[in-house]
Amino acid sequence: MSIEEIMQQAVLAAAEYSQFDQSGTDAIVKAVFEAAFDQRIRLAKMANQETGIGKWEDKVIKNVLASQIVYEDIKDQKTVGIINDDKETGIVEIAQPMGPILAIIPVTNPTSTTLFKILIALKARNPIIICPSKKAVNCCSETAEICYRAALAAGAPEGCIQWLTTVTREQTAALMSHPSMALILATGGPGLVKSAYSSGTPAIGVGAGNVPVFIEASADIRFAVDQILESKTFDNGTVCASEQAVIVEKAIATEVKEEFRKQGAKILNPDETLRLTRIAVDPQTGLMNPDIVGKPVQLIAELAGIAVDDGIRLLVAPLDGVGSDFPLSSEVLAPIIGYYEVANFESGLRTCIRLNYNGGVGHSASIFSNDEEKILYFSMHMNAGRIVVNTPSSQGAVGAIYNRLSPSLTLGCGTGGKNITTDNVTAKHLINILRIARRRPNQRFAAIDKSLYFNEEVNADIIQKKYNHNV
């Protein structure tokens, strides 16, 4: 189909879908969730085989998050008609769909992100067009088709889910800038997200991550190391919210390193760190080497010429600084983590701030601590949409597993990450909210002698005193 045909189909689907009530919409979402959940394992294996990234077992968990956990989060949300009626303020909020949504799907989480975006788009009565990574076309197409068949069987409009089976830059650009496209859900690299924002169509993008995890002196060390390993080795480190560098106070450093070794991490020597740097980061661009993204430790170690035992799950690279002179201080989506030893809490916080602003502004940050004051102090100094506490950040930032954040595979990074929100994006972000404003006169404005506003001698305090004066 041509771009025009795809868009016409989407616009007609949007028109029909706009007439659905809440129960009809919810029936479609439920049917899609159930069909997707049934295929979670097959789709995970497809994604792993096609992309060569990550672990299929962890991709099953991602598919569970994207289907079951997201469904349970959104199923009772009101997304049709009156969604709020406040008698006190006289404001009634009405939800209306946005229209066709273009979903850009990354190679790192192809089937799960496809499932997630389809569910939240349908919940908001929007048709969706799936634009997969070139390296994940088959698994994304299969995912979209499963969802589409289930949606149609539940009464959804024809064309409510469409997907591209061949992807070109020109085609993506044409879809992004099509006048009938209502919104772009852009999950991908910085270049792609920038293209979405530059297209003239409203976009919800995501920024890059560079998540610092601070093991503060009061933390339970064995627990912290266990959780960091669980997070950073999940799907071979492909989650953008995974920890990129661990920061440890000197007082507990020996114990932390010993615990890392015990639990399956290899702490590299300076020569090994240099070898790893050469294969992990492109020296020209400073960006991670795509060939090592989501690959197992053994393969990465072999490429770098580093000897590792079979049981090793994570490579820990001690670093002396942050920035372009230390390429591993930036985001690398693989089972590799930077390591910093710092004199004390304040020094550690400074390192976390530097890391946070070294390509990860607005994304996520993590702390292990049992000191509430320090947790708050740390949080106040981060620029991160989500600061997870005593939690594996991969699974914590995406929500609903370790905390009550909304489950999402699109993590807003705020203006620092060039995004419009710091929220975990979900169905509520895909509706237009209309507000009926009943007459509720502003009592102060009505009571004040309006001529006072024209008197330059009268300031705000005088106005307030006049209003409060008992006559």
Partner: protein, 98 residues
């Protein structure tokens, strides 16, 4: 049951109820049988229609394509149905009268 009246080379189609995908298939078949070379103008009367599917919108597009925009119109649309035509961006292609 939908009604079809031909008067002086003008075909008026009066539709009823929900024009969902299934209902639209019936309309498509009925309309094909009624449209012949003698028909110069087509009018869809949607007074009794509360819901239209994308399939019905495609029938409208096909009809305007076959007859030309000056010879096809839709009448008696409810506010809800009018909004559906607006969302589908068909208001520029099809004459829609109250």
């Amino acid at each position: 049951m939908n009604e079809y009246h031909i008067d002086n080379q003008k075909l008026t189609c009066v539709f009823y109820g929900r024009l969902d995908t299934l209902g639209s298939q019936a309309v498509d078949a009925e309309l094909s049988a009624k449209l012949d070379a003698s028909v110069q103008e087509v009018v869809f009367d949607l007074k009794e229609v509360a819901y239209i599917s994308s399939s019905f919108l495609k029938i409208c597009l096909k009809t305007v394509h076959n007859t030309g925009s000056n010879h096809f119109s839709i009448v008696h649309v409810s506010p809800g149905v009018l909004k559906v035509f607006q969302i589908a961006n068909l208001n520029h292609l099809i004459r829609i009268n109250e």
